[in-house]
């Protein structure tokens, strides 16, 4: 099972740039890019911060795919 996410779609729907989302949750733009490309798995703390910032449930944002 691979941990995937809808971060890019949700972020774009909310009209946020990677830079803005990064600043809101206290990480760099590169970290947001890495999460969106499934290269980096965020810690639970960061995942919750992102979900909170995008006003979405964490399980809707991050999910397991076969």
């Amino acid at each position: 099972m691979i941990l995937k996410n809808n971060l890019k779609e949700v972020r774009q729907k909310k009209g946020l740039t990677q830079e803005e989302l990064g600043t809101n949750v206290g990480v760099s733009r590169q970290t947001i890019i890495s999460i969106e490309r499934y290269r980096y798995k965020p810690t639970l703390e960061l995942a919750m911060k992102i979900a909170q910032n995008l006003n979405i449930k964490i399980e809707k944002l991050f999910y397991f795919a076969e």
């Binding site: 760099s28 590169q30 970290t31 890495s34 290269r39």
Partner: protein, 159 residues
């Protein structure tokens, strides 16, 4: 290929290690047959290295700060990359030190065997001085530092 501020600062470290290896290691290589007290101008060389390092890093980071005015946040991804690369550097250094200790041990063993041949010239060529040990340790440090930084750079590009 666009590079971030963090990636450029890693390349500055790599450049430093290479420049250090090219400029200063030949001096220690030439003096490896001597003991530390007999090496000419060792204190001057250490002062030169220290001043050179301070000037290099000050200039490099000042240019970097001017080029990238925006401050980059340090986050958990940086911590993960740093811990992975420093772990590799530490393991490499530890492993190479063990090999170096083995090398010194075999050198002393060979030296004792050569003593039996009564060949004084060959026996003396197997000397391992403070200068020699210092040279090997500096080579190990330079190599592990370059490998660690390159791995760190690779992780920044791929993670």
């Amino acid at each position: 290929m666009s590079l971030s501020k963090k990636e450029l600062s890693i390349l500055i470290e790599v450049m430093y290690s290479i420049v250090f290896a090219l400029i200063f290691l030949p001096y220690f290589y030439e003096n490896q047959e001597k003991n530390l007290t007999l090496i000419d101008g060792l204190v001057e060389k250490i002062i030169q290295i220290t001043i050179g390092s301070v000037i290099y890093f000050s200039a490099a980071y000042a240019i970097l700060e001017i080029a990238f005015k925006k401050k980059e946040a340090r986050d958990e991804r940086d911590d993960m990359i740093n811990s992975k690369s420093y772990k590799l550097g530490y393991l490499l250094y530890e492993f190479s030190l063990f090999i170096f200790i083995g090398y010194i041990y075999t050198k002393f063993q060979n030296k004792e065997l050569l003593n039996l041949t009564k060949n004084k010239e060959l026996y003396n060529s197997f000397q391992l001085t403070d200068g020699g040990i210092l040279f090997f340790i500096l080579v190990l440090l330079a190599c592990t530092s370059i490998i660690k930084s390159l791995y760190q750079f690779y992780l920044y590009r791929t993670v």
